[in-house]
Point group: C3
C-alpha cells in the first residue's frame, strides 16, 4: 500500500513589460523533483486572473506570433471598448488569459515531469509590472 | 502514511437566459470543506458541452465584456452559418465553451480552496433554459 | 485506509491529413477500466504542441464547424504571416491547439469515466501525417 504524497509551492513573477512570456519549465521540474512523488499529477495555476500558464514551444518567433495573435483577437486598444476599463485598463488581459486556457495539469512519471520532446511550460503575463503568484500543487505516490 | 480521500458531488443549473454567468465559488468552497481533504486537487467540470466552468473576476462590467467578446468570436447569428444547426441552434455554444477552456482544476491547501485574491469560479451557460449538471471531484489526503 | 493507485499509458496517432479529429473515448474508457481505480482523476494530454485533446460532441457537422472556425481564427494560409514559419509551416497548429484548450482532466466514479450524456473525448490533430503521442495518467483509489 502506497502513501499519498502532496507538495505545494508558490512562484512569484514581476515582469518588466505589460506582456511577457517566461519559460518556467525548470522551476516546475525542480518542484517535482523536490516533491518526492514518483507517479501523480501536478497543477500549475496562476493565482491572478490577468495571467496564464500554458504549454507550447520555446521558440522566439512563435512567442511573438502568440503575442500578435492575442492582440488581434483581444486587443488592448482602444481601452474604452471594454466596460471593465472603468479606472482600469486591463480588460484585454482577462480575455487573453482565457484564450491561452490559463492553467495546465501535467503528469509525473518515475519521479519526473512526463513531457513530450517540445512541451515547455510558460508563464504568460498580460498585465505585468507588479508581483504575481503561481501555485504549484502535486499529488501522487 | 496518509489515506487517500475522495469526494464527488453534482450541481444542477437551469438558468433563465440562453447565456448566463453564475458565480459558483461558494458551492465549490462548501464542497471542499465537506470533503475533509486537507491537500489535493478538485476538478470542476460541466457535464454538458454547451457550458463552461472558468476562473476570472466577479466584476459585472467584465462579465459583459466576456459575453460581447464571445459573441464576436463565435456569434450565435446567423444560426444557418453552422452545419451543426440542422434542427438545433446551439453550435455557437459548443464553440464559446472551448474559448473559455470549459473546465478548471483547483488546489486544496490546509482544507481550503487555494485561490488568489480575485480568482472566482464561474459557471458559464451558453444554451440555457434547461437543467445542466456540473461534476465536482476532489482527491487528496 | 485506501491505497493510492496510479496508471499511465500512451496512445500514438498518425492521422492521414494535416487536420483530423479522432474520437478517443473508447481508448480512455478502456484505460480507466484497466487502471482498477474506483474514484479519481484522469489527465488526457497530447505530448505534442500542435495537437489538442478536447471534450465535445461526436457530431460530424459540429466537427466541420470547429474546423472552419479554427481556420478563421488562426488561419493556416498565408504561412508567411507567422514568424515561426521559418522552415516550418505549422505555426497555426500551435495557435489552434490553444483555442481548443489542448488537454482535459476527467473524473473517475465507481470505476468508470464520469461523463455527461454527450461528452466525448477527441484527439484533434493540427499538423498530422507523422506519429504523435497522447499521455493518459490516472490517480485515485
Amino acid at each position: 500500500m502506497q502513501p499519498v504524497k502532496h507538495a505545494t509551492d508558490y512562484l512569484t513573477f514581476e515582469t518588466p513589460h505589460r506582456r511577457d512570456y517566461v519559460n518556467i519549465t525548470p522551476q516546475v521540474e525542480d518542484f517535482v523533483g523536490r516533491s518526492g512523488i514518483e507517479h501523480g499529477l501536478v497543477l500549475v495555476n496562476p493565482m491572478h486572473i490577468t495571467a496564464a500558464v500554458y504549454v507550447n514551444d520555446a521558440e522566439s518567433g512563435l512567442i511573438q506570433d502568440f503575442d500578435d495573435w492575442l492582440e488581434k483577437l483581444a486587443p488592448h486598444e482602444p481601452t474604452g471598448q471594454y466596460r471593465h476599463n472603468n479606472g482600469e485598463d486591463n480588460a484585454d488581459a482577462h480575455l487573453k488569459r482565457q484564450l491561452m486556457a490559463h492553467q495546465v495539469v501535467l503528469p509525473i512519471t518515475d519521479g519526473k515531469l512526463d513531457l513530450g520532446p517540445w512541451e515547455q511550460v510558460f508563464y504568460a503575463e498580460f498585465d505585468g509590472r507588479r508581483p504575481k503568484r503561481v501555485v504549484l500543487k502535486a499529488i501522487g505516490e
